[in-house]
Amino acid sequence: MNFGKYFSLRLQSLICGMVLVFSTEIDSVGQEPEKSVDPILETSVEAIESSRIAAMERAIRPTVAVFGNGGEGGGSGVVISPDGYALTNFHVTSPFGTNMRCGMSDGKIYPAVLVGVDATGDLALIKLLGREDFPVAILGDSRKLQVGQWCFAVGNPFLLATNLQPSVSYGIISGVERYQYPAGTILEYADCIQTDAAINPGNSGGPLFNRDGELIGINGRASFEKRGRVNVGVGYAISINQVKNFVGALRSGRYVDHATLGATVSTDDTGRVRISNILNRSDAYRRGLRYGDEIMEVAGRSIRTTNELKNVLGTLPSHWRVKIKYRNSEGPTETLVRLDAVHSNEELLQLVQGGLPGMGPQPKDRKDKEPKDKDQQPKPDSEEQPKPDTQPSDIDSSEFSPKPSSEWKKWFIEKDGFANYFFNQYEREKALSKYRESLGALDPNATWKLSGKWVGDDRSVDFLLNENKIEFVKGGVTQSIDPKQGVSKIISKRSIDGLPLVLGLWRELMLGVGNAKGKLIDSSVYLGTMPILGNTPFHHVLEIPISDTRMWAYFHPDDYQLTAIELFGDEGDDPVEVYFDQPTKFQSIVLPSRMRLQYGVEPTAVFILENADLSVTTVREEKTEESGS
């Protein structure tokens, strides 16, 4: 128990104080000379101080100073993986575009490339190049923070790190679960940490550590108002738990968005948070949430105020599926809701590329767009929005080669809609190559025959899948569906036909992966990591465009096995979901022997695979009839 330790330490210090007097007296009468500090006290003070110094030494090593290629401007960042992935603020990288330079306390400057951007959350992921053994920060748990705990910020305030040695400022946690309004719809600080450790211009993007040196947040903004742009004892950090939600998506090289419920809420007279408006095409609506219902919990956190809801939603990436507990006249219900995106893709692109409040557009767009008038930007009255720290630095420009290093170009592919498409391909290939290994060689021309039974139905079913057709035979009757005719109609029926439909696409996915090429894979997008059915572990998710819609494939983070496929239909319809488990060896290939079909949150049917033949060369010619009766 903490109290015991606390008590004994307090006691020690008291005792030491008294003993100090005692021993001084002894000294004064000329007896055995000795140090005038009690050894117990001295030991404990030294222990505390040295543990603090050790924590700071650990913390300084992964901290980086972020500069433009010519040494201009800058902010801070922190490395979180040995291969150089580092976190910083979007408003720090924004003026630099796609590449920058990062100084570390080893005195070296590393080229870095932009990986992913979360403009709404003011977060950017960059990758430092040139080492596979970068010092990394240990990630803490920001939910455990309590007001009063010591913490420290490390970074490059006022761009002081001319010798590349970061500065440390010490303080306490002044507040947790703070909500700081966005500028328009970006740079929202939800559920953030407030500290009185000095956060000054240049600290932006840098790490906030707890006293043990664990990374708890990314320093982003401060309250300045009429005091000028210096610390006034109020700094805010994006919580590391929010970062953990986003980092998987940021590694995808995309412009990542935040989540919205598709509903607005207000607090009623009794202090309950109730839905005041809800979109009828939102998943929340499909899951039964209605006007007037009380929101009780979202993603495991209880909701007592509208601010708490904003805090929770503000830490979640778009399209995540989270548990929601709500109450209506029939009592409380727990369900799973797919969250929408705050912005449309076009809106997000415009916001990211249009430049930040008070700042011109990115160099790339400078020709096309007029610089925005600073005064027209939204600005809450007591809050200064983050600005890029672009004042000239004292960095010796000879440190920076006149021509930017071209190393980053190997790590960058420009593509519309992506911060850096290179990383999308990179992560996609990483996920698929593991999956490919488990598949072995597959004959693209063969028809697959998958045989088994629906649970609760003794009749055998054969699924016959090939490039052109999806057929299924039950009780001697053959039915067929053709995904090329459009899948939305099939999905909207919410029938068991969803399984053969998904299985046909599953075959195409496997063949595409197995042969490491094909349109299907080339046009797919790695989305990042997401929870599955509202749970951990976060899975790698690949989005694959399918005729008139899209399919999501979930790969397990450990073995990269395909865990689930979701196939989306029309907006407003639940997608078909198929969950694969119980891998079994069929001939030369391991396939899941259990497939659960689901629309919405209730399982529709379960299919048990009993036999699989992936090398059938001819399809039986039998009387066929259109499915869907």
Binding site: L9, I15, S23, I26, I48, V147, G233, T305, S382
Partner: protein, 344 residues
């Protein structure tokens, strides 16, 4: 020898000091992770409230901080325009909302006591105030910048007590009326909304009321300070007893009352529900002229009655007999001046 002696001392102390543990700053420093320390912080937060009232225009904030000083909802705060509202809302750390009434204010100290209808609230004791040493650690808990929205808890900052000094030295450079001792701290407390918050010692015992915003215009230096509670204690006691402001309804009109024209005072046009009682003109040779009232003086008190507008002034004067002298308190620039008027 000595080690043996020390062991005995240790033993004796261990045996006897369970009753009174006097923590030192050092011990507290080592203990920020302990449950006890975090409880101390939470206890202080629970005794600080967020206050919302008038403002939100012309650079005036509509929020400030307050300190719970009784279980029955007495709240100590700074006197400011925020309290110039019909309803002042008080929000506790637990998110409870109260409507508070102004019980009284002391214009010289620029403090006010609000009263919310409540019982059994956590509160600071004003008895046995600690006498913190200069250099000791302090906590400041405030509603600075209005960061803590909804049911969020007020902000906590740490710092050191730098000095116990006299604010009078800053007269002429500052716009505060209070003249007296202040604690100067290095916690960044001098921010919008922080005034009225609590300055405590490292054990969470109240030592000061965080002061209003105060800037030296020459150096653009903002002074982080708090007024020692000991300076405020007599006034707080009087205000809590309702002595500083008599409820108007208890005062009967008199047959031969004072009136502004007879006193020689012409106010600015009464255009608002609560037009401030600014003097527009002083009639020559009038009692006001003789007593030294000036144009642009703001009448903020008459007798023990706070004047929140011209109508309150006119009504209150009707309760005072012409033959008695009237005590005015006016604000002239940043100074408060007591002025006695007597009709001949």
């Amino acid at each position: 020898m000595i080690h043996a002696t020390r062991a005995i001392v240790h033993g004796l102390l261990l045996a006897c000091c369970f009753g009174s543990i006097q923590p030192t700053a050092l011990a507290a420093d080592t203990e920020t992770k302990s449950t006890s320390w975090l409880n101390t912080v939470r206890n202080v937060q629970e005794r600080v409230v967020k206050i919302y009232g008038a403002g939100g225009v012309a650079g005036l904030e509509s929020y400030q901080s307050g300190i719970l000083i009784s279980p029955d909802g007495h709240i100590l705060t700074v006197w400011s325009t925020v309290l110039d509202a019909d309803v002042v809302t008080v929000v506790s750390t637990q998110g409870q909302r109260f409507e508070a009434k102004l019980l009284g204010m002391d214009p010289r100290l620029e403090i006010a006591i609000l009263k919310a209808e409540a019982t059994e609230l956590p509160h600071f004791s004003l008895k046995d105030l600690p006498k913190p040493e200069i250099g000791s650690r302090v906590l400041a808990v405030t509603n600075l910048f209005g960061i803590a929205t909804g049911n969020e808890a007020p902000s906590v900052q740490k710092g050191n007590l730098l000095a116990l000094s006299d604010l009078k030295e800053r007269r002429g450079r500052s716009s505060v009326i209070y003249q007296g001792s202040i604690y100067v701290v290095d916690a960044m407390t001098n921010n919008p909304g922080a005034a009225g918050g609590a300055l405590t010692d490292w054990d969470g015992r109240l030592i000061g009321l965080v002061g209003k915003e105060l800037r030296d215009p020459l150096s653009n230096f903002w002074l982080n300070y708090a007024i020692p509670i000991s300076e405020l204690q007599p006034s707080i006691a009087a205000l809590m007893e309702g002595k500083a402001m008599t409820p108007q309804s208890e005062m009967p009109s008199v047959d031969n009352p004072h009136d502004l024209v007879d006193l020689g005072i012409v106010l600015v046009p009464d255009a608002l529900p609560k037009t401030p009682a600014y003097i527009d003109r002083i009639l020559p040779n009038s009692p006001a002229a003789k007593a030294g009232l000036l144009v642009d003086d703001l009448i903020i008190m008459v007798g023990n009655q706070r004047i929140d507008g011209q109508s309150r002034l006119r009504t209150f004067l009707k309760t005072l007999d012409k033959s008695d002298a009237v005590d005015f308190m006016v604000q002239r620039g940043s100074d408060l001046l007591p002025i006695k008027l007597r009709q001949e």
